[in-house]
């Protein structure tokens, strides 16, 4: 094509921001919806509740034992309970929402996950309790909340609970529940009472009250575990968390640490709940509520200090059994034996049910307890139909619809700078849909593609290719959401009742496909996202990972077990640890350091790039939150933006940034070492990673100003949503609002993970050069110069010379 565009380059530059603006990706309006329901009156009785409701969680937690049946002492405190107590006491309760909060926002939203039930629970007569509250603007006549269990509808009710949280109780039909994993699907269709705009859809929300949404089993036996596997039914508490109380009487002994960690990993893998934490203590305290498991670990001789009766046989050989203990309640797991060797065998028995060899490839990531189906792991080029990804054909009558699925990528995924996945979209829209509507694709909530609808009169899209940048892909599960924003003439006029009209406008078919091209695979260090995603590099270790910590502090052991258990869940296998190695003896092995900042050897601090002064200064300044000059400046600049030609220039700048993602980093040729990091005053926890001094290993440091902060910080970090935000070379967790922030990787080492292949190396080079644009340009220019000279030489020796 020899025609040129030079003359109107200026035209193009000037006008394109305007074009791009129409595809508004501004997500800011979405945010206000979620905090809104955070302040419902805590104790207000729900007027619509047809049965005496369970006491509100706040009141129930300290004393109410849901499984009190065999415990004699419980009888007298129970008398102090509110009137509901006798009936409630007979029941076993199982909270089912594995999230700290669950909000359905927009016109259509759906969540699905699975709940593990013991055979006794499945057999029991069961009631399903649902508590929720919704925004005032949700029109009850056009909005419905649906819950189905194992495919049979349990709740299908109008959403009409804007004043107070409402509780619903329904009987779960017999034979719906079964032992093992039960699929739960909750969905909400919501319509605005008056408004037809796209913006108004962001005002729609329904919040599920996690504390009053549960299964309650009539059968008293349902509250007890009979087999070790029943640990998988541990479930969650009213906040969606799972807690393991690990009681290790000989916690201080070196020999006990590794088994403790190993047992923790095994239990975590077995329960596989999204937000699991471990409390390790020497004696423990009775804390028996849903979502909590109590485990006693130690040689038989030491158990008598903590248990009323030591299980028979513990003196003789390895044993892992469930006992009813007067202090710790029923279903207390005891792992014991005559000595630590026997205990290790007992732990191995538990572990081997959930372990897998380091070399086996995972086809899926086990996510069913918070997201169904299990997320497929894409290790190479692959094609997946939406139906395989759990997205079913969705017809839609509203304005804005969002549906999502998740795909997993391995820890050595290295295509974020150049890669593009493709969605082959099968969809259709009716003639009501006006041009200007668009279909957007989000990856991990970042806009990744947008397809404008440009034609009148409706269209069937058959395998329309949408290129999705992989810039926001991270190792592990990634959520890909497809959102259609539909504009119609009817919405523009918005006649009364228009919001509730049910004519279908848009459909996404489950025959659509997600196409992952083959992508570069090479691991990097540091890369905390790899830990978050698949526990890499610890997941691949074939030796026991040195775990260096201060064993005398229960908080630190709790933090270490919680952290290692979380990595194990990410890795899908147990990670053997060696807690007896001294910091100095680690060498070039992979290692994890868990310590309060004052205990961290300065050599380790220096290695992972944390400033040495940190150990003295951090923690003291916790209270003083200094205003951040840079952030304030940015705010002011934002405020003074827009209007006039300067506004045009800056919107052009925005367009350039959005389109090309150019940053000064693109112009480095040789990235230097980043300056040492000093944690800000508000940071409660710091995770830092760097290659070991003699390269070959990866060191990860988990540290906090105090041991208490360390335990709480790790617990906050291991929460599913927080955990997935971990990345870069340093991640900090803020005390204030549980905020995770990351420091990007400046310089890294490559670690080969795949057998050598030219195709893979080509893609690796492509990704590296895509991230280092100037290097590419320079290499291309140098090679062109070489080619020019070679051509000159060739022409000089071929053909006529004069």
């Amino acid at each position: 094509m020899r025609i040129g565009f030079a003359p109107f380059a200026l035209l193009l530059l000037a006008a394109s921001p305007a074009g791009a603006q129409s595809n508004s990706f501004d997500m800011s309006t979405e945010k206000p919806a979620t905090p809104a329901p955070a302040a419902p009156a805590p104790g207000a009785p729900a007027p619509v509740a047809p049965v005496p409701a369970a006491p509100t969680p706040a009141a129930a937690t300290p004393t109410l034992a849901p499984n009190p049946a065999p415990v004699q002492q419980q009888a007298s405190p129970a008398a102090n309970e509110p009137i509901a107590a006798p009936e409630a006491a007979a029941q076993a309760r199982r909270y089912i929402v594995p999230f700290s909060d669950l909000v359905f926002s927009g016109e259509y939203a759906q969540r699905s996950w699975s709940v593990f039930l013991t055979p006794e629970q499945a057999a029991s007569k069961t009631e399903f309790h649902l508590g929720y509250q919704n925004a005032v603007v949700v029109a009850p006549e056009a909005s419905r909340l649906k819950v189905s269990i194992n495919g049979s509808s349990v709740v299908d009710a109008p959403i009409a609970s804007s004043d107070n949280p409402s509780d619903m109780v329904v009987d779960v039909p017999a034979n719906v529940l079964h032992a093992g994993l039960n699929d739960i699907v909750m969905s909400a269709v919501q319509r605005h009472r008056t408004d037809c705009t796209i913006e108004s859809t962001y005002e729609l929300w329904t919040q599920i009250e996690t504390g009053s949404t549960f299964l309650s089993f009539d059968d008293a036996d349902a509250g007890r575990w009979k087999r070790i596997e029943d640990v998988r039914a541990v479930g969650v508490d009213e906040n969606g968390s799972t807690t393991f109380n690990l009681i290790v009487p000989s916690m201080g002994q070196t020999i006990s640490t590794s088994p403790t960690v190993r047992l923790g990993e095994g239990l975590a893998l077995m329960a596989n709940m999204p937000n699991q934490s471990f409390n390790v203590s020497e004696s423990g305290s009775p804390s028996n509520k849903p979502g909590t498991a109590t485990i006693v670990l130690g040689p038989a001789s030491e158990l008598s200090n903590v248990l009323a009766t030591v299980p028979a046989g513990a003196e003789a050989g390895p044993i892992a059994t469930l006992v009813d203990d007067p202090k710790f309640g029923p279903s207390t797991l005891v792992v014991s034996g005559p000595n630590w060797q026997a205990i290790n065998m007992a732990i191995d028995d538990i572990a081997k049910q959930v372990d897998r060899p380091a070399t086996s490839l995972r086809a899926t990531l086990a996510t069913r307890t918070w997201r169904t189906p299990d997320v497929p792991m894409l290790l190479t080029a692959s094609n997946l139909k939406f139906s395989e990804l759990g997205v079913s054909t969705l017809e839609f009558a509203g304005r804005r619809v969002r549906t999502d699925f998740a795909v997993g990528v391995p820890s050595d995924f290295y295509a974020e700078a150049y890669g593009q996945a493709t969605i082959l979209l099968d969809a259709a829209y009716t003639q009501d849909v006006l041009p200007g509507s668009h279909i957007d694709v989000y990856v991990n909530d970042n806009i990744a593609a947008t397809v404008p609808i440009t034609t009148f009169g409706g269209e069937i899209l058959r395998h329309l290719p949408i290129k999705v940048t992989m810039r926001h892909f991270k190792p592990g599960a990634n959520t890909v959401a497809i959102e259609a924003v539909l504009m119609t003439q009817a919405d523009a006029t918005c006649a009364p009742g228009a919001t509730a009209q049910s004519g279908q406008r848009f459909v996404v078919f489950d025959s659509s496909e997600f196409v992952m091209p083959s992508f570069a695979r090479i691991a990097r260090t540091p890369n905390l996202a790899a830990i978050s995603g698949t526990g890499f590099p610890y997941s691949r270790a074939e030796y026991a990972i040195p775990l260096i910590m201060d064993r005398t502090q229960p908080e630190i052991i709790s933090a270490a077990v919680t952290f290692m258990a979380r990595i194990s869940v990410a890795a899908g296998r147990l990670i053997p640890v060696d807690s007896s190695t001294a910091a100095a003896a680690v060498g070039n092995r992979n290692a994890v350091f868990v310590s309060a900042i004052s205990q961290v050897p300065s050599a380790v601090l220096a290695q992972v790039g944390i400033s040495n002064q940190t150990s003295s200064a951090w923690g003291e300044t916790v209270a003083s939150i200094q205003p951040n000059t840079e952030a304030t400046f940015d705010q002011w600049r934002e405020k003074l933006r827009g209007g006039g030609w300067r506004g045009q220039v800056s919107s052009l700048q925005d367009w350039m940034n959005r389109t090309f993602n150019l940053s000064t980093n693109s112009f480095r040729i040789f990235p230097g070492r980043a300056p040492d990091f000093t944690p800000q005053g508000t940071a409660r926890l710091v995770i830092a990673q760097e290659a070991s001094p003699i390269s070959g290993g990866t060191w990860t440091l988990v540290t906090a100003p105090t041991v208490g902060a360390l335990r709480d910080g790790v617990r906050a970090l291991t929460d599913q949503t927080m955990w997935r935000k971990m990345g870069g070379r340093i991640t900090t967790v803020d005390a204030g609002e549980n905020k995770v922030s990351t420091l990007p990787v400046a310089r890294f080492d490559f670690f080969e993970t795949q057998p050598f292949s030219l195709a893979n190396y080509r893609l690796i080079v492509a990704n590296w050069l895509s991230a280092n644009a100037l290097s590419y340009a320079v290499i291309l220019i140098l090679l062109s110069i070489v080619l020019g000279f070679a051509t000159a030489g060739l022409l000089g020796s071929l053909g006529r010379k004069k």
């Binding site: 094509m1 020899r2 025609i3 040129g4 565009f5 030079a6 003359p7 380059a9 035209l11 193009l12 006008a15 394109s16 305007a18 074009g19 129409s22 595809n23 150049y418 890669g419 041009p435 200007g436 668009h438 404008p452 440009t454 034609t455 058959r462 395998h463 290719p465 290129k467 090309f660 993602n661 150019l662 693109s666 080509r762 080079v765 492509a766 895509s770 991230a771 280092n772 644009a773 100037l774 590419y776 340009a777 291309l780 220019i781 090679l783 062109s784 070489v786 080619l787 020019g788 000279f789 070679a790 051509t791 030489g793 060739l794 022409l795 020796s797 071929l798 053909g799 006529r800 004069k802």
Partner: protein, 731 residues
């Protein structure tokens, strides 16, 4: 061995660049790399535009072009299941690939053109016997007389050169035509030319039947003559005095040499130049071919015969039984044949003949149709890439020369493609505004810069596009018809001696106004869409911009088909030559200022106005370049005017004897230096930016002129002249 090493070295370097180019890098990296490479090219252009750095700059450009092709291939084609988008999208893709392929071929051809060869006029070469052929069909006796006189006037021993007039207009077949009028004309022509030839000392030759057109005519001449070498001049191509001296020497240097080709220099502008008024200051269209491409072909021993202004070796022609006549471009075809048999060719970059080219747009198109159709026939019957005996560089060179004439297809597609989007909303090029900027825009600028690098001084920016566009409209059907019926086209002689006396629209100019109108609606559609559909304004602007460029080109073409009326029938050549003006028996000092084939303008000193009168008879006495003798050329005075210190007299030649034609030829054609100077005066590279602005101004002016002519034409203010006999068909 060294050659092999060089090839390996080059192959390795190419492989490295290719590997880099085909990496699937991100958009930002592409943008940065594109900008940087562009910047590098600009810097090189400013400081070292020649030698090895020219090749480096071309390598830069190649890298960007290859990146564009990679991207275009891997991520911009519409999905296959949307056939309504895919088919036009794929056609556009093919058109672009064709352009890139032609760019690659021309890069190969002109990578390192041979430097002009030194003059041989004064070397002591052996002077072999030469037969000069002047084939004619329907040209005027006056025109032929000038050519023959010029041929006779060549500086060469008279006993070693024979000039032959090969007349196909006076064949037995013609003289016995069924139409008695035609037969009489042929008979009259036969007698007239026989006499003229005899007067000038030229051998007249005709034949029985007009078989195989020009090739047959030349072969007839071959059969009747015996000279070692053959020089061929078209009827209107008069050679300079030094033509043979400059060319024959090469044949002794290389016994396998079959051809020495020299450029065609034209005294008159082609219709594009005439109507756009660029003849005096912009290099002519064919200068790119003769100034660069033939030199590039010469590097690869692939300079080919262009039908005239060349010397050939009889021994070589005997091998192929004369000139080939399968296609209607017998010249190029003969050259392929001989190259394939291992003969060599040489190109001498020095204008040694001066000729005429078609004056009207219609005959210009007729000439180009013949070339295009002939090249298609060669492609069809001799397919150069697989022609046995040709070297690989020769195959590539002939591919470049023949495939070039497929340009009407991509041109048409580029013209229509944006309309698919603007009118029918088809998405035939799937890319975002950002990608357009990073890939397409960079590619286009690089492409223009590479053209400028390759042809800068010989072809100004956008002029190639204009020439291709104005030919496309009529060449497309011609090329399609020859593809469908490769044996159908027949040789048509291009008329070159027409003149246009009144300003009018070309009789084949209507389609250009229709196209212009459609594109104009496209622009209106762009504006409408930007406001009505703001959500895709970026793509609309990109496509609309493309359409706008097409519109500018189409507007400029309106000027091309609006033929300007001209006073003088033939082009005047500037000369500056002392003479004596003989008037009423007095001899006045004077200078011949310019000359044409019909007359001259003389500045006379010391004359009085009242001595002069219109139609008065006079004579110009001057010294001949040929032999230094003096002679008088009789003229009549047509007009006169006073200048500051002299009187300028315009006069018309009144040749009565053969010797007078020699005088005219000596005046116009003797000195080839002046042609070179004229060419050099037009050469100069305005640069991409200045050239673009110049073109834009030209286009705007020509659009308005074209519309004015169109409006006048609609009003019927000036009835167009009858189309006339523009091209006569030979049987």
């Amino acid at each position: 061995m060294r050659k092999f090493l060089m090839v390996v070295q080059w192959a390795v370097a190419s492989a490295c660049v290719l590997t880099m180019v085909t990496l699937p890098i991100s958009l930002e990296t592409q943008l940065v790399a594109g900008m940087l490479v562009l910047f590098g090219m600009m810097v090189l252009k400013l400081i070292r535009p020649d030698g090895i750095w020219r090749l480096v700059a071309l390598a830069f450009g190649t890298a960007i072009v290859m990146r564009y092709v990679y991207w275009r291939t891997t991520s911009t084609l519409p999905p296959f299941n949307q056939l309504e988008n895919f088919i036009p999208g794929f056609l556009l893709y093919l058109a672009e690939l064709y352009s890139v392929m032609m760019l690659a071929l021309s890069l190969f051809v002109v990578a390192l053109p041979l430097a002009p060869r030194p003059s041989r006029a004064n070397s002591n070469d052996r002077l072999p016997t030469v037969d000069v052929f002047i084939p004619t069909y329907n040209e005027d006796a006056d025109l032929l007389a000038n050519t023959m006189a010029a041929a006779k006037g060549m500086d060469y021993p008279a006993d070693r050169v024979n000039v032959w007039l090969l007349d196909d207009g006076g064949t037995v077949q013609k003289r016995n035509a069924d139409k008695i009028g035609d037969a009489n004309n042929a008979q009259r022509r036969y007698e007239q030319l026989q006499k003229l030839s005899a007067d000038l000392g030229v051998k007249y030759l005709t034949r029985d039947r007009n078989e195989h057109a020009k090739a047959g005519n030349l072969n007839n001449g071959l059969a009747q003559s015996t000279g070692e070498l053959i020089a061929v001049f078209d009827a209107d191509h008069a050679p300079a005095r030094d033509f043979l001296k400059e060319t024959v020497g090469y044949f002794d240097e290389d016994p396998r040499l079959f051809l020495v080709q020299t450029p065609h220099f034209f005294l008159n502008p082609d219709p594009v130049e005439r109507n756009l008024r660029t003849f005096e200051n912009m290099p002519s269209e064919n200068e790119m071919f003769y100034g660069i491409i033939q030199r590039g072909l010469d590097k690869w021993n692939a300079a080919f015969f262009c039908g005239s202004a060349a010397v050939l070796r009889r021994a070589a022609l005997v091998e192929t039984k004369g000139f080939s006549g399968v296609s209607i471009t017998e010249d190029c075809e003969t050259a392929i044949e001989l190259h394939a048999r291992g003969w060599h060719s040489v190109y001498v970059d020095k204008p040694l003949i001066a000729g005429l080219q078609p004056a009207t747009f219609a005959s210009f198109i007729g000439q180009r149709s013949r070339w295009a159709q002939g090249m298609m026939q060669i492609l069809r019957f001799r397919f150069p890439p697989f022609k046995r005996g040709l070297s690989i560089p020769q195959r590539l060179c002939y591919m470049s020369s023949t495939l070039f004439w497929l340009f009407p297809f991509p041109r048409t597609i580029f013209l229509v493609a944006p309309l698919f989007y603007l009118f029918f909303d088809l998405q035939i090029f799937t890319a975002s505004g950002g990608e357009f900027m990073a890939y397409t825009l960079t590619y286009m600028i690089v492409n223009l810069m590479m053209q400028n690098y390759l042809y800068g001084a010989f072809r100004w920016p956008w002029v190639s596009e204009l020439y291709e566009y104005v030919q496309t409209v009529h060449l497309l059907p011609a090329v399609i018809s020859v593809i469908l019926n490769p044996r159908k086209p027949t040789f048509k002689v291009t008329a070159k001696d027409e003149s246009i006396t009144t300003s009018r629209l070309s009789e084949i100019g209507r389609p250009f106004f229709v196209i212009f109108g459609v594109l104009l609606v496209g622009v209106a559609m762009t504006v409408y869409k930007v406001y009505a559909e703001p959500f895709k304004a970026d793509v609309t602007l990109v496509v609309g911009g493309w359409n706008l460029i097409n519109l500018i080109m189409a507007g400029c073409a309106l000027g091309v088909v609006s033929e300007r009326g001209e006073r003088s029938a033939t082009r005047r050549v500037k000369v500056s030559r002392r003479c004596d003006f003989e008037l009423n028996g007095r001899s006045l000092q004077g200078t011949i200022e310019n000359v044409s084939a019909n007359g001259a303008r003389v500045l006379v000193f010391g004359a009085d106005l009242d001595e002069l009168s219109k139609d008065a008879e006079a004579g110009i006495r001057f010294k001949l370049f040929a032999d230094g003798s003096e002679a008088v050329l009789p003229v009549t005075i047509r007009n006169f005017e006073r200048t500051t210190d002299s009187i300028a007299i315009g006069c018309l030649y009144m040749p009565t004897e053969a010797v007078h034609h020699r005088l005219v030829a000596d005046l116009i054609f003797a000195n080839s230096k002046q042609w070179e100077q004229f060419q050099l005066s037009r050469r100069g590279n305005p640069g991409l930016l200045r050239g673009t602005f110049w073109f834009l101004r030209l286009a705007i002016f020509q659009t308005s002129r074209g519309l004015l002519y169109f409006w006048r034409d609609l009003r019927g203010a000036s009835a167009p002249l009858p189309a006339g006999q523009l091209a006569e068909k030979r049987t």
